[in-house]
Symmetry: D2
Subunit: 398 residues, 4 copies
């Protein structure tokens, strides 16, 4: 009897685990919770659950030797995100207007996809390109797992009742530092290499590994804390134009920004909205939910600057800094552009990364919401300069 | 043992019936369906269910001699619509962002309010002002019953799956006329009276009954049909500037309007989205979901005009026209303004009508979605000229 | 030798006088001043000078028996305002982007049109329809003479240097009243007649004269003064939602209105920008540059209301009130709609009035900027409720 | 008798020449032409003439030992562009609303500043920092000389009369190439140096000169021609999503872009609006007035890419390519960010460059509108990706 390939067997185990984790994230939420869409950038949780399944159905099941019938032909359009190569797609800003299919039906869809995918993974003749696509689909689902948390946080933050996802407090727990001040680690630079290497998974935008020349620099040994950011605010940070880029100054004026997203001030002092409800500000935790604008202004105020992504990656290679991963994504002063020699992946999945390489800034590291197995030193996250609903913070360079 | 007042007993029966009808309207819909908000003008059904209860809790229960504890203090803000006299209110456009309270909780709220209201109605010492407020609350709930249907229709129309509220076809059934052409009834006008009279319920904006001088006029004996409106379209109606008011012409150009709302054309011809799904266009049914702009342009094309609200009401008094009620609201060429001697009701409920008396046009009659006991000849419905999501049509005058 | 008709001779004299007055208004202004366009609603003075000439060239000269060659074929599109029947038109909001033709060239255009029009008026065979159109053209030019002043005032108000049109002070001179309080005149109403009558000129929208039933009412014997409006402001007028229509309250919040247009407060107190520069507020002058919103809110604060246009016209017929003309246009609570039996004029000039009959409120009387021979009791001016750049004020009714 | 410093004498000669050139550019234009502002990004020519004078008055004359009285105190605010360190400024989008000061007055202002500046330059004790600021002021004025032409072109393009700045044709004359196809020059890369060096003038953003590692690459020996770009269009370039970045695709759809700015198609074929009026498309001239979006899409269509700014500068150092300067600015795929070790200039002039380092792409070279002495290989021009009103084109790399 033919055996599944060893790589397929390992992928099947990972498939089971990753898919189960998505469901675990929405456990305890109502169908109504999973339908919320509070802004065009943030999708309903139900949509995330369906779209990640759509990925496997579209790129794997429908292309396999014995494709199962589509679970529902309408889903092809409804749960496409932006893959033009796959055909039409439902308008992003209107994802919250779909009460049908209901959450129950989406969970059936997941179940259907899971069963057929596990059957496919048991196939002894899977090609490497298919295995690669499955791996990509799992990485893709992990990205959406982080979005499930950041989007839910934004959705719930619009409700004056301040609902909680989980009772226990977690996302305030990481410690950026105590009160002893921040230290800087020195790097001599030179002709270094960055980018993904080896046979493990990496997105196309992390490749090719290539040489970069770096001048000597220093990097802070930890991320900036809430207490430090508060000092910037108390020093008039949001009211001093000389600290801000021109576009940033216009933006904070237009939107009335005076603190990071989710911060609120009342007679009890500063509090922050979290996935566990509203809690008092923890001065020692890393500052989070700030835009590139704010990260950059803070750095200028602190007589420092943001690192480039090459500086960050070089430092990460030696792993002697705290909080590189698992606290907050760290804004860099690098625009999200192609590496020299960059080639998008073939086919529709080639739309995954390359077509967003404009007017976005790179964030490095990973956050408290990133699935553990999803963090890499060469990982290039990217968002527009004004985005704040991710767990995004700042580490200083100079 | 003291007995409830006869008027109170009668109101209690009506209370029971009206409140039950709201629930009947949402029967079979999911919690997700009831949370949809497809545009700022249309509210989630869950919100309608809660807001109509809030009205009774706020204006009756909270003001009664032995007020019950508030069901949930947060509801005071969440379910206020626009009564500034009552305090803060949740932003209208963000009603769809409330997954909490869930539908279950809102149904408990209704139940709580119902029990306390029925207890109140059993009270032998209710004052007339309280009975008047209860009557107002029921009329208010009936208005929201119509909105439940028109809002749901709009919500569902945004879903490419075209969900149906009920399987059976209903809202296409009324017949505006056959193919025999429309007849006109002549009225001699003169010094007539319009406005609400008698002791039955009427909103403050229907009062006082007053004299109006009318020149002789003619009114069509039925509403304009889909087939007639289609003839206007086929004659280039939407492309001929001379048929449109200046503001209307700009609006249809900007929004690309080429047909009434919910009409769609494909290789099978014209179809319309209804509460029962998408169905072929019924040429004999009254045209519906048109704006004042379109009603006015159609009338100009037909060498006629829209009636004034006084003309309509005079004709309705003699009741010799078909389709005055129960088909479509009929746009008039009257702006929604105060009658001579108008007095808003006292207190916060005085905000109900008067503060909207600007830049709205009056519609008369009632529609297929209007609760039966809610239609009156003196009723003044009003919407901005561009509104199309109500069951709004047109009857010609000249 | 054939003689011009007596009516033609009289029109020729008026033509000369009216056309000269337009030039007198721009005397002393630079070509740069005449090109300003500070908002889409306000046109460059150069455009007014050209458009009023375009009217005569298009509707009279080009249609005459021996039409002169067009002065410049491009002007047909450039200086059309909104007459769709005449063909294409230059975008209203971009009138300020035309440096060519320069003011010099526009003055040559006027001269060309004047010479040919006077030749036409010397023709012994002019038909009545032509004479009517010439009269319409002169009335049209007088309307633009008022706009020349109100638009210039707005243009100049955007310049921090606060330029003056004329050195002497004029538009603050009219006196609405002293400090003795306002009196009300009583009218018994009944079945009255309003609308234009007789053989003199009137726009189509003033016709036909028709009967209206009025209940008894009172009208203030003078317009509201700056001092009285200031009392409303000091009593929190702009901060009290109960005084405002719903749309008005939203509008003043969105735009931050806290005083009439052109008012400014500094350490010297209140001042107003005028066509003669910035001057201290004259408490006795009629309040001007207020919107319908503000007129309506003021009236509610003063326990009064705005008159209807029929009430105003009835009172004007007896001429026992001060300031009906020559001070400020007076907002009424009447929407700008067709009179019963209204017929638009034939041809493209029929677009003059009728197509704007929606979402506009009627103002009655005339202002300090209205050419003297242009004021009539039956005159129906109209603007959207938010418009403030006209000399618009308020007279109370109750 | 003390002599001016040799550097001062040389600067005085340059001052005279540069200032005269600005006047030469507006020679023949009317005061009305010089007041036009067709979009917020483009300023009135009068404003450019005044602002460049304001620079010298503010940073040199007002700071000198014996400052002359200000020509007009109001100019301090009116003609400040964005220097927050200098105080308030007039709103950029409203520069076109200033008819006063008139062009005559602005020319007097220039004369005043010129006389005092030449007196200052005759001073024997000028410090180096002052001489540096004068040099910066002249470079600044040269930048505005280019904007005078690009802004005027945009202003005039909004006039249906298509006015011409100069009769003779000039900006179509440069030849990008014939029909023989484009050749590529190979560079081996390695550890190179870019950035400004030597004692000549350079902006702070060109410094410091620093090392960059480059992989081998090829650069086209000339710029892309109109004919080549037309081939892209005829191959469906603007309708094929796979050729465009995601943001670009959304933008061209929203704005309906189907050709470069100023291109127009009618029965005679393609024509382009130029500073000399509308002329037939010259297939051999370099394509101009394209956005980064279009440059990038063209490159992808041509199976090539845009160069980085380091690649461009390395190639320019060997000067073996045609059209590096004097044809069109060439979009690169480099974001406008600080060089390693970048230090903004001290004082308010430090706002000149650094605060715009976000969401802008670098263009290299110079255009037909660039003053001749203003072009440098290390020059970093920058605009947002959608900007098209500059003379911007594309050179391919791979």
């Amino acid at each position: 009897m033919p055996q599944p390939l060893p790589r397929a067997a390992s992928l099947a185990a990972r498939f089971h685990k990753v898919r189960a984790h998505s469901l675990a994230l929405v456990h305890g939420l109502s169908a109504e919770d999973c339908q919320l869409q509070s802004m065009p950038d943030a999708s309903p949780l139900k949509w995330h659950l369906a779209h990640t399944s759509w990925f496997f159905e579209t790129f794997l099941l429908a292309e396999s030797k014995h494709p199962p019938p589509p679970f529902d032909p309408a889903f092809k359009v409804l749960f496409n995100s932006y893959y033009i190569g796959v055909g039409e797609r439902h308008l992003r800003a209107e994802r919250g207007l779909l009460s049908r299919p209901g959450l129950d039906r989406v969970l059936q869809y997941r179940d259907h996809v899971d069963r057929h995918m596990l059957a496919l993974l048991a196939d002894s003749e899977l090609r490497d390109t298919e295995l690669d696509l499955i791996e990509l689909g799992l990485q893709h689902e992990q990205q959406h797992q982080e979005l499930i948390l950041t989007d839910l946080k934004h959705h719930f933050s619009c409700n004056p009742l301040a609902p909680a996802w989980r009772a226990e407090s977690a996302d305030q727990s990481p410690r950026a530092g105590d009160d002893l001040g921040v230290a800087f680690q020195t790097y001599s630079g030179g002709l270094i290499e960055i980018g993904h290497q080896g046979s493990g998974f990496g997105f196309d935008n992390e490749r090719p590994r290539h040489r970069v020349w770096l001048e000597p620099f220093e990097l802070a040994t930890r991320n900036v804390s809430n207490g430090e950011f508060l000092a910037f605010m108390l020093d008039g940070g949001y009211r001093r134009p000389e600290l801000w880029l021109s576009e940033a100054w216009d933006h904070i004026g237009l939107h009335g920004w005076q603190a990071p997203l989710y911060w609120q001030h009342d007679e009890q002092g500063w509090s922050v909205f979290t996935l566990h409800g509203r809690v008092p500000l923890n001065h020692h935790a890393p500052v989070s939910h700030i835009s590139f604008y704010e990260a950059d202004a803070y750095a200028r105020w602190a007589a420092a600057r943001l690192p480039t992504e090459a500086e960050w990656e070089l430092a990460a290679q030696s792993e002697d800094l705290a909080g590189l991963h698992g606290e907050v994504w760290q804004w860099t002063n690098s625009s999200y552009l192609a590496y020299p020699g960059y080639q998008p992946a073939a086919g529709a999945v080639g739309e995954y990364n390359g077509k967003f390489m404009l007017n976005q800034m790179v964030l490095r590291g990973s956050s408290v919401a990133t699935p553990e197995s999803h963090a890499r030193h060469s990982y290039r996250n990217f968002f527009p300069a004004q985005a704040r609903w991710q767990f995004s913070g700042v580490r200083l360079a100079r």
